[in-house]
Symmetry: C2
Subunit: 328 residues, 2 copies
Amino acid sequence: MRSAELIEVWRGGQRESLHCGDAVVCDSKGLIEAWGRPGQIVFPRSSCKMIQALPLIESGAADAAGLSDRHLALACASHSGARIHVDAVGNWLAGLDMGEADLRCGCHMPRDADENRRLTCGNEQPSQIHNNCSGKHAGFLTLNRHLRGGAEYVDPDHPVQQAVKAAFEEVTGEISPGHGIDGCSAPNWSCSLAGLGRAMASFANPGDDRRGRAMRRLTEAMRAHPALVAGEGRACTILMRAMGGRVAAKTGAEAVFVAILPDPGLGVALKVTDGGMRAAEAAITALLVHLGALDGNDPAVGTFLTDPIRNWRGMAIGEMRTAPGFPA
Amino acid sequence: MRSAELIEVWRGGQRESLHCGDAVVCDSKGLIEAWGRPGQIVFPRSSCKMIQALPLIESGAADAAGLSDRHLALACASHSGARIHVDAVGNWLAGLDMGEADLRCGCHMPRDADENRRLTCGNEQPSQIHNNCSGKHAGFLTLNRHLRGGAEYVDPDHPVQQAVKAAFEEVTGEISPGHGIDGCSAPNWSCSLAGLGRAMASFANPGDDRRGRAMRRLTEAMRAHPALVAGEGRACTILMRAMGGRVAAKTGAEAVFVAILPDPGLGVALKVTDGGMRAAEAAITALLVHLGALDGNDPAVGTFLTDPIRNWRGMAIGEMRTAPGFPA
């Protein structure tokens, strides 16, 4: 079985580039639509942050620390390191009597243009709180406080990560073939794309048990705070806003994208084989329109899929297109 | 016929991403090695700037304007917009009694970190001279002065672009299926990847006629000035330096890469289907090692192919690999 052609890039009436990949749509019973290889093993990367946050709630740690929906949205975020993100995570850590030095995510310059400029022009280095995963790590630290684990909470054998692994395997319904180490140093467990899609369908159809309540709470936190989950100009934020809070959407490095659609009770997962984010954003946009969650005339559809590609003088010089057969 | 698997990205002992594409090696008689589809139609984008510069020399315009090898290297460049590039192009235009307003390439922020920071922190906008193609456009303006053409020298029907088209079709040995408009607003003619490879082999085996002399002059200018052709930290510059000036290498947008090897008389051309530049840089590195032009132990090979991929804390978390069968 081969990957499917998903997104094409055209110029001057000729197809210049092509992105292949795999995509699935699942309901509570399993796979209902697939393109390419639903069995393909993928690293979900940051697209599974809502899974990684399940033990934070299920353990009672989130309630013990008095976390709000804003904290939970940040735990599921790949944020831009804007002041709204950095200040919130800083306050969260302070509330735990902890600080930047307790994080294990490493530093990188923020994607947010204003904060990036502030650091660049002020000759300041970014801190670990600027790391796009700092909210997830604040969640790990909150859970770790509750579990009384050691300081190296990103070690794959640490109780925090073992709790994450257990939740991950339960919601994907698979034994993970193994883990890689993510950009933020946390272990990232692999699964089949269908397993990731089934997990998203579980979030879309939560039960009334402890897990179901945790899933509902995380999904609602993401849907209520699209700007905390990513940031201004970012695909997750723009797409969630365009869908009026009805859908949670999350990207992951190397061109993964997932979506949780509570209303029809669907979960979506896709991975572009080559890791090209432009194609992952275009493909999830096409799938959300296909599933009726996103209005095909919404400006967000233009932003990520249908608007002309313009050059440095503003000339329309090409376009992205869904490949024949994707998504319909 | 299908594209070939070229470059893999691994994490945690699992293949996370894969880049497919097409690649050819040609000598003066034609194709001698190929991966994927040598007949695939591609836009060479900036990889064909040395072809676009042929009329500048062959018309006598370069000599009439007293252009040096540094000018010719800039005419073939996708430069970083560092001061060495911006000052040189600014002086070139001034020598023509022209200025930034005569350019038609549009503005974008320079890739060079120092110049980018200077503009960002000084609240300055970039000029068209910062455009990575401004040297090519200064070459177009020089040719246009000689041809006494109109100001809109990027129109596909303008004498400058018609001269470029004629040279392009002659050196590729093909009638182009058509053109697209490039990021810099110049027309970019498409050809088969084999045609692009044959063109590079012509540059590697120049005759003693007017065309051969122009080809030799352009290739020597690129080899002598690797920092003008791209910039510090950039693949073309690093790879050309690593090969001690023996090879000219040039990238193009959407993951094209070409190389001209005068010593064994070979031309190389490749395009990664998905447009991923990391894979184009890794693939050309692998091919240059394969052809004996680049020492496999050179640090440049590490930079673009064999060094571990490190995360924000410096941990080695993955690696790039050539796919089985590529290049050997």
